[in-house]
């Protein structure tokens, strides 16, 4: 089989529109998708026989148009395949999980469209089974058409929490409450400015209507400070803005403190790579601005991939700029009411790195050494960001805490901790060795 000219990683809106745009040139384009269906997290498709969960008219229309155009273009998709990285020789390594083989591809350009991950602040007890991200609960609803069972508490900050709450209500199990650290009702100016984004506003009002109809408490200006096991259930301690505490007994908890690019370990974007393919990023993994911007950014990257030069269409850039303004407004609208950071009062035994079981106290000890440690040294000495998730759920929190524990030391970023190395996902050594020996055979 001939290697594709352009390889797109990720089958969400950014990847699909990048592939579509690139394929218009007549070049051979292929798309790599880790799951067995397209759509990404935002348009996660339901299994057969299950009703699509009610979404806004805008989102339904966008997916219908994108998926129809994509099937019409007949772009080959490598389903069940995971991008591992670009090796020193410029080979793009993809693990085909259907046959267990690692494939070494030599495309001329790679468009990385690996989407976003949720940002979650550490909280005591966030590691328990039954506590997941709110987005994780949402993709399960999209896939199965059923709400999570039992009494569910949603906590953190941002518009996604009200979307998940409304969707749960529509599926017959509204959450106990939404604990929101911000208070959009008190942010008059950004609230008024949202009038400039009527589609986003209509979507939000639709969710709020369901929340109101189902009498779901939206506890603004409040924080979930602790999760404890209570038999088979959880007791969740919530602190309100006035300092008063209340306890919720629940079966599941969904946490969400925003989204950020899923760019961990990805090779750097390059237009003129010395060896190997041109590497581009598109959509949320470049800048987390949501589905509308992702589709426009995908088109932009698709065109760049075929041209290899910095030419972009003004209407796509305009769309991306507009979504950037919308996201900045939303961030102000949902800014925490309490000035103290969610990281300030964490007890030392709070888990920080979920993969390696490292705690806030472990990091504090490292930061109390006479010599200031860099992000990389904190990784090597303390195992933060070293585990299987490659720092996706601890690197940003660890970097922020390092700055608090040792303000006089030079600030570290999440990327200082994680570094940029393949494989970006765990792969068996056997599969890599087989790929290497196949490579030698053909040389």
């Amino acid at each position: 089989m001939r290697d594709p000219d352009i390889l797109v990683i990720g089958g969400g809106p950014a990847g699909m529109s990048a592939a579509l745009e690139a394929a218009r040139s007549g070049l051979a384009v292929e798309l790599v998708e880790q799951r067995e269906s397209l759509g990404g997290a935002i348009y996660r498709q339901p299994i057969e026989g299950v009703q699509v969960i009610p979404q806004s008219a805008g989102a339904r229309g966008r997916w219908a148009a994108l998926s129809q155009a994509f099937s019409k273009a007949a772009i080959p998709v490598r389903f069940g395949s995971v991008f591992l990285g670009v090796d020193g020789h410029g080979y793009v390594l993809v693990e085909n999980r259907q046959n267990g083989l690692v494939e070494c591809l030599s495309p001329r350009a790679v468009v990385l469209a690996t989407g976003a991950v949720e940002h979650v602040h550490p909280r005591p007890g966030w590691q328990f089974a039954g506590v997941s991200t709110a987005g994780g609960l949402q993709v399960m609803m999209k896939e199965t058409g059923t709400a999570p069972r039992g009494s569910v508490l949603l906590a953190g900050s941002g518009p996604l929490l009200i979307a998940v709450a409304a969707q749960m209500a529509r599926l017959g199990n509204p959450p106990l409450a939404i604990v929101e650290s911000g208070d959009p009702y008190r942010r008059i100016m950004p609230g008024l400015s949202m009038l400039g984004f009527p589609k986003l506003l209509a979507e939000a009002l639709g969710y709020l209507k369901d929340i109101h109809l189902h009498r779901i408490p939206w506890l603004r200006g409040s924080r979930l400070v602790r999760i404890e096991r209570q038999g088979e259930r959880f007791s969740a301690v919530v602190r309100a803005g006035d300092g008063s505490q209340s306890t919720f007994v629940c079966d599941r908890i969904g946490l969400h403190d925003g989204i950020r690019p899923n760019d961990y370990g990805l090779p750097q974007a390059s237009s003129e790579a010395a060896a190997g393919p041109v590497i581009l990023r598109a959509g949320d993994c470049r800048e987390a601005l949501g589905a509308i911007a992702a589709e426009a950014d995908g088109r932009r990257a698709g065109r760049l991939a075929i041209q290899g030069v910095a030419a972009s269409a003004a209407d796509d850039i305009g769309k991306i700029d507009r979504q950037r303004r919308a996201q900045a407004l939303l961030a102000r609208l949902f800014a925490p009411v309490d000035d103290r950071s969610a990281l300030d009062e964490l007890a030392d035994d709070t888990l920080l790195c979920r993969c390696e079981g490292k705690t806030v106290g472990d990091l504090r000890n490292l930061c109390q050494r006479v010599d200031s440690l860099t992000g990389r040294e904190v990784k090597h000495n303390g195992r933060f960001a070293m585990g299987a998730c490659q720092g996706r759920f601890c690197a940003a929190n660890t970097a922020a805490l390092m700055a608090r524990f040792k303000p006089e030391a030079p600030a570290s970023s999440a990327a200082d901790l994680t570094g940029r190395r393949w494989p970006v996902r765990p792969v068996s050594i056997g599969a890599l060795v087989r790929a290497a020996s196949r490579d030698n055979d053909t040389q």
Partner: protein, 84 residues
Amino acid sequence: MTEDTFRLMGRTISFRAGESIAAALQAVGVLTYGPDALGNETRCFCGIGACQCCLVRVDGVVREACITLARPGMSVEPMERRNA
């Protein structure tokens, strides 16, 4: 209609065609899939294959339960076998 099933640590789990392992387990109320490499509970957290909290052995091969399709007759085991 015959239901499709797979095995989780000796238990028979029904699933619907197209469901991920994690979705099938959630549907029957199973939220933890045995000990992970640290001895903590294996569990679904991010749902999109990023956090690696739901790594299990599917017919011996390490996979994320949240993005791996359930297939008839497959065996799902924890990462580590420990003598309790």
